[in-house]
Amino acid sequence: MMMRRLWITLTYIVVSLLLLLPLYKIFTGAWADGLSGFMDALLRAQSLHALKMTALIVIIVTVINTLFGVMLSIYLVRATWLSPLVKRLSNSIVDLPFAVSPVIGGLMIVLLLGPNTVLGTMLGNVGVSIVYALPGMVLATLFVTFPIMVREVMPVLQEIGDQQEQAASTLGAYSWYTFWKVTWPNIRFAVMYGVVLTVARSLGEFGAVLVVSGNIINKTQTATTLVYQDVENFNVVAANGIALVLAAFSIMLLLLMEWTKKRKEVH
């Protein structure tokens, strides 16, 4: 009984110091210069532009990786036209971005598509710039977030098995129809959970985007790279304003994560 009380108290202490105190700090710090200080920080031209860039990247990345992630998961679990070896190999490769430092992820894109490379020059001649522009930033974020959806959806597909789907196709349902009527209801909460995680990760992506974007104010700056720049310029109140907005989103996503996780377990 003594031990038990000790462990619970220790848990409270660790969680408060490591998680709750930082949250408290970010929510109070932004108001250090009053409401006007916070609004000034937020309504700067570069803040609005950075938030817009972040929103744009989050939307594009989430849509693309959700579509491709779900399809790849279905192929890796169900496809009869893939040999087991290819499936197993791909299954391991999917995880690789988790092991790659975001900075290295960004470096890979600079090395492949940067202005000094063959591909980069070719694209540049056609007038398409990847690095130091939006496409590169999207690409970097796609790379970093790719495994998330696959990791959420694959286990569910494996668990539900393909009996229902086979029954549906035997009864003459087309594959698209089978997907919507049979597969989708089973995986939808896993997909939703994956979407929330992907949004959180792409919202917060920093290292890869910093390397690829060049962090150009009012052009390629995102919310996280703006926080970085504000801190480097000792503009703490401004940094705190943006950080608060990001933290508020994170908490919303955290609540959504809780909610979907519970739904996921019901099924």
Partner: protein, 267 residues
């Protein structure tokens, strides 16, 4: 719509697009960075790595990541245990807030640490200990960012642990500590281990939380990911790629080991 998707052509083109995306986004960049770093021969690769600053950065990263992992293994095991085994007020709240570091942008995490223990913080006023721009701050950042891994790795295993095994051990006269070390710990170990390894590989890759608070003094507080970033900024992609390849190889080995561990657990 259904007849449109019925045709085999659609299905083939979907497959092709998904796999081109997968190969283009994940596999080619990784191959690219390995070939790039060896493109000027093996001697220049070794030259790049034997730069003393590069070496020191890599060693420092490994050392601090190991410390952070040990800390997280200890507190993660405790919290995972408390959250599964005990009922107490506020348990659900704590359980939801555990994932905060996954939802919060790492740059924001770094910024908060700067606010909490930096030169103008209350902590500094009270204790007068220089944390920021020294090694402890880096460890703190790593601990924060990788906090959920051990807990989330451990929880499902503890929940599945068969109570009757434990009770049988007690009934047969086994002491509390003996039961813990013979029955409970072996069940927990795979979760703790894979959580710790994920935390370690994440810690050596961490950039956003670290770059703001480490001061980045070459040879002293410059970690590998920040070193890579610096090399990219100073236009030395070869040097950046060499260190990246070293870090990547370490991370891939860890990932491979976790895969093996998980498969062993299932069999």
């Amino acid at each position: 719509m259904n007849s449109l998707f019925r045709s085999q052509k659609w299905s083939y083109s979907f497959r092709t697009i998904v796999f081109i995306y997968f190969i283009g986004l994940i596999i080619i960049p990784i191959i690219g960075i390995y070939t790039q770093s060896f493109s000027s021969g093996i001697t220049s690769f070794i030259d790049n790595l034997s730069d003393p600053l590069a070496w020191k950065a890599v060693l420092l990263t490994l050392k601090l990541a190991a410390i952070a992992t040990l800390i997280n293994t200890a507190i993660g095991t405790m919290i995972g245990w408390v959250l599964v085994r005990y009922e107490f007020p506020g348990k659900r709240m704590i359980n939801s807030v555990i994932d905060l570091p996954f939802a919060l942008p790492t740059a924001v995490a770094g910024f908060i640490i700067l606010l909490l223990v930096g030169p103008s913080s209350l902590f500094y006023e009270w204790f007068g200990i220089d944390v920021v721009f020294h090694e402890p701050a880096i460890v703190l950042a790593m601990v924060f960012v990788t906090f959920p891994f051990v807990i989330r790795g451990l929880q499902p295993l503890l929940e599945e642990l068969d109570k009757s095994e434990e009770e049988a051990a007690y009934t047969l006269g086994s002491s509390k500590s003996r039961t813990f070390f013979r029955i409970i710990l072996p069940t927990m170990l795979p979760g703790i281990l894979s959580g710790a390894m994920l935390a370690f590989s994440r810690a050596i890759a961490e950039f956003g939380a670290v770059v703001l608070i480490s001061g980045n003094i070459p040879g002293k507080t410059l970690v590998a990911s920040v070193y890579i970033f610096g090399e990219i900024e100073s236009n030395n992609p070869q040097g950046a790629a060499a260190v990246s390849v070293l870090l990547l190889t370490i991370s891939f080995l860890i990932l491979w080991f976790i895969h093996k561990l998980n498969r062993g657990g299932q069999a």
